[in-house]
Structure formats: C-alpha cells, structure tokens
C-alpha cells in the first residue's frame, strides 16, 4: 500500500548558499574545460599591449593625469582599459553560453530549481564575474614585463572594482541575450556592443584627447558606462578611489541586473526546444 509522504521542508538560507556554490563550481569547471577560452582571454589584451601600445608609444604622449603621479608610458595608460576588455569579453562569452544553454535545454535545469529565478540569475552573474578575476590577474602578471607596475596595494583594491564592473557587463550581456532569438545572431549583435563600447570610452585615450577630437565623441564617451568601468579600475589599480565612477558603475550595475532579471523569459527556450 502506498502511504502519503510528508511534504519536503521549506528551503532555508543554507539552500541559497548551496545553490550559489553549485553554480560557481559549474562555471569554474566549464571554464577549466575550455582552455582555449582562458588562452584567448590572456592573448587578446596582450596583443593589444605588445603590438598596439608599442606602436602608439612614440606617437602618443600622456601628460600627468589622475591617478598617475608622473608621466607614464602608453602601455601603463592602456592597461586598465585592457583589464576592462578582459571583463567585457568574459561577460559576452558568459552570455553566449546562456543563450546556448537556453537553446539546448541546459537552462531548464536551472529554471526548475525551487529557488527564486531572480536569485539564480544573480548567482550566474556573480559566478561569471568571479571566473573573470583569475583571467585579469594572469594578464596583469604578464603585463608587469611590459612595464605595467602598479603598487602592490593596487592589486588588492582592484578586486572589488573588478567584481562590480564584471557584474555590470555580465548583466548587460544577459539583458541583450534575452532579445537574441537565435544563437547564430549572437556574434553579430555582440560586435555592435563590444566594439563601440570599447572604442568610445577612455580605454585607449584619455577623455581630454577625445574632447580635442570632437565634442560629440567626448559626450558619447561620457555616456558610455564602460568609460566609468575603466576609470574605476584605473584608480583602484593605483590604490585610489574615483567616487564618480564608483557611483555610476554601482547604479548602472543595479539597474542592468534588475532589467536583465525582469526581461528574462524562461518560455523563450521552451517554445523552441520542446514545443509539442
């Protein structure tokens, strides 16, 4: 005879913690398995540093600007922008993997959890942000040989700035991915996001240089949240705080996380993957 089993106890705080650890562990495993991802995350900014920056060094002089206390080489100037580039590419890679999971059905495992979906998506964003941290430090370790030698305390202050910026960029990627209908469209859409975000910012040239080039370009740089990510990272790397950048990045990250969670539609994967 079948007897009724008592209902499972309600999930407590420990369950939330376990879920976060599980999601982080999976992200780490996936990252470790994709060695080429780590390799490209390292090589991409190094090529910029070794080739692009070397070429521009002679043509471009950087006067004394905050947070640097002295004249700097172009390699030193460009390094924080390249750190932000690592975060940007990692965020887009993570969004791509979410679109892939959604299309292939893997996302269903996450969505059938009894925990709130908003919390699970936030865990995914945080896990992706944490995965980007070792990539950044690996890049900075190699960049040391190119003369990028921030104070040791900078490496410590960099960590919270990295996590905040990675959260912002990850949420942006997730938000955009909710509107991408097919996996094949992802690369095309991302090109329209990654390149303008990177080039129309203070990653490659200081803002005063942009202003010299044109007022419109300067205004666009000011509207680009990536600019504030770069500046937050730049100041943190030299043990200083850029309050304006911190405020803009924090508010934008919060808004984008909310928008990404609200825009996320679990039915999108279902309607294509398993309709019958």
């Amino acid at each position: 005879m079948i007897t009724a089993r008592p209902a499972a106890p309600a999930l407590g705080l420990q369950a939330y913690h376990t879920a976060f650890r599980g999601i982080l562990y999976r992200e780490l495993l996936r990252f470790i398995h994709q060695r080429s991802r780590f390799f490209s995350a390292l090589v991409r900014p190094l090529v910029w540093l070794a080739v692009f920056a070397a070429g521009f060094r002679a043509a471009l002089g950087i006067s004394i600007i905050e947070p640097y206390g002295t004249y700097i080489t172009y390699e030193v100037y460009i390094a924080p922008g390249l750190v932000a580039m690592v975060l940007l590419f990692n965020a887009m890679q993570s969004s791509l993997s979410m679109v892939y999971d959604r299309e292939m059905g893997g996302m269903r495992v996450l969505l059938m959890s009894p925990l709130p979906r908003g919390y699970l998506l936030l865990c995914k964003l945080l896990a992706s942000a944490l995965v980007s941290v070792p990539q950044v430090y690996a890049f900075l370790a190699v960049a040391w040989w190119f003369g990028v030698e921030p104070p040791l305390v900078g490496y410590f202050w960099l960590l919270p700035a990295l996590l905040l910026c990675a959260l912002l960029l990850g949420a942006l990627g997730l938000f955009i991915s909710t509107f991408i209908r097919q996996l094949e469209n992802f690369a095309g859409v991302m090109n329209f996001v990654i390149f303008p975000m990177f080039f129309i910012s203070s990653a490659l040239y200081p803002l005063w240089k942009m202003q010299e080039a044109g007022e419109l370009l300067y205004r666009l740089c000011q509207l680009n949240p990536f600019t504030y990510c770069v500046e937050l990272i730049r100041f943190a790397l030299y043990g200083k705080l850029n309050a304006q950048a911190l405020l803009v990045v924090s508010v934008t990250a919060l808004l984008l996380v909310l928008m990404a969670v609200l825009a996320f539609n679990p039915q999108r994967g279902m309607t294509r993957a398993g309709k019958a």
Binding site: A7, A8, Y25, A276
Partner: protein, 273 residues
C-alpha cells in the same frame, strides 16, 4: 452494505491538473484546451498522444517553464501558481530533449542539480551514490556525459531527477531513441519506483506498447483529453480490443501505425492531417 462515499476520508491526489489552457503567443492556436486529470501517489500514469498532442507543453507547465494562462496545477493540494517553490521541490523532470551538460562528468551533473535544490555536502554525496548504484551507473561516475551512449544518458537524467526525492516524476518520451532492451530496463526501473517508493509517475509517450492494461491513461489529442481512465476501461468503453483501435475510434481517424525498433508508433503526418 455499500459504504457511503461521503463518509469516506477524502484522499488528496498527488497531482491535480484542472482545466488547463495554453497557447503559444497571443491569438495562436491552443496547445492545451481544458485539460484536466488527476494522478495518485505510486501510480504509473501514461500520457498518451501523437507528436503535437500537447504532452511537452503540459510538462513545461507543470515544471513552471511555461506560465499557466488558465486553469491550475496542484501537487498534494499546493497550487503551482500560489506556492511554486513548494511544488517544484516535489517534482523531478526528464525532458525529451537532454538537458545534461555534456562537458561535465556524470557526478558533476548530479552535484549541480542537487545544489540547485539546496542539497550539498554529505547528504548530496550519499544520494548520488545511492542513485548511481540504483541505476547501475556507478562505473560511469567520473565519465564525461559526452562519452556515454543514449541509454546511459537517459539513466543519468532519471538519477538526477530523483536526487531531491520528488514525489512526482515527469518523464517526457524518456525512451525515445533507445533500443528495446534499454527501453525495457528503464520502464522496469520506473515501475519499481512507483511500487517501492510511492513515487507518482507521469509517463508521456507515443508508444502504446509501454502502457499496461491496468495503467491509468490520459489520451491527449490536439490539446484535448479524449479519454481518461485505465487502458482496459478505455478499450471497453470504446468497444475495441486494443488501445490502438480505441484511439482510432476516439479520434475518428485511421492513423497508420509505424513499426520500428522502438515499437508501434503513429506517423505524425497521419495524425495531424
């Protein structure tokens, strides 16, 4: 003396599906139209219908991947719309399309699922061990899913769906693509879960051979319930010898059975025209 039905204690069904309606997109055709049925604890309940009948849509609704538009789903009395977390804690699902992470090992896939249900540490390790042994997968524990054959992958999905000890197990075409031997092994295991552990199973299939005469069956066709009774009773009511014939009578069509190594099925074309 016949006992008065009103005096008997009312037993809450494990699953109650009540007047479900669902359409993909506003104004689109209804994938489900007024679907209602119940499932008791320990029952192996077959959801039978050709491709496009609405089986996967129903599973999507029960597992909350789709949002209920009309009607309700209750699990042991708890409404999915009012208490989704309580319901999802008690539901394990195996979809027709694999949802395993091919690049992770069997164990890592199971661990990931367990963590999403708040199960970690020693409890997680012990449950993984139990389920892998039960489904004869202990040797594949450290194998990446990509290297497993179809039958093993299905078993991993079933083990995963059972890790959080659900009271209801949803299996959508769980034997599709498997040879007869692998199919029989999985069905045997699922039936044992019903009898030994009291798990209620909703088994969606288009293969009539997988249904036994005493199994409760819900016949789904074009989003509507054609019949909801035991297989034997459906045959009796339609005065047909087999469920295949009963289905033909109920749909007033003559779909062509297709013989394959998976058993007798219906061609989608025949049923959809």
């Amino acid at each position: 003396m016949t006992p008065d039905a009103n005096l008997l204690p009312r037993i809450t069904p494990l699953l109650e599906v009540e007047q479900l309606r669902f359409a993909y997109g506003a104004g689109g055709p209804r994938a489900l139209d007024g679907v209602s049925f119940t499932l008791q604890p320990g029952q192996f309940h077959a959801l039978l219908g050709p491709n496009g009948a609405g089986k996967s849509t129903l599973f999507g609704l029960i597992s909350r991947l789709l949002t209920i538009q009309r009607g309700d789903i209750r699990l042991a009395g708890a409404s999915l719309q009012r208490a989704p977390a309580r319901v999802l804690q008690e539901v394990g699902t195996v979809f027709q399309q694999s949802t395993l992470d091919l690049d992770l090992t069997v164990e890592d896939n199971l661990r990931y699922h367990a963590s999403l249900h708040g199960i970690g540490g020693a409890v997680c390790a012990s449950r993984i061990e139990t389920e892998l042994a039960r489904l004869e997968l202990a040797a594949q524990r450290k194998t990446r899913v990509r290297q497993l054959n179809g039958g093993h992958r299905r078993r991993v999905e079933i083990a995963r769906a059972l890790l959080h000890r659900p009271r209801l197990l949803l299996l959508d075409e769980a034997t599709s693509g498997l040879d007869k031997r692998a199919r029989d092994a999985i069905i045997r295991h699922i039936r044992r879960l019903c009898s030994d552990r009291g798990v209620g199973v909703l088994w969606a299939t288009h293969l009539i051979e997988e249904v036994q005469s005493r199994d409760p069956v819900t016949l789904l066709y074009q989003g509507r319930v054609l019949a909801d009774d035991t297989a034997l009773q459906i045959c009796r009511d339609s005065r047909r010898a087999t469920l295949v014939e009963a289905f033909e009578t109920l749909t007033e069509r003559r779909p062509t059975p297709v013989e394959s190594d998976e058993g007798t099925a219906y061609s989608t074309e025949a049923l959809s025209t």
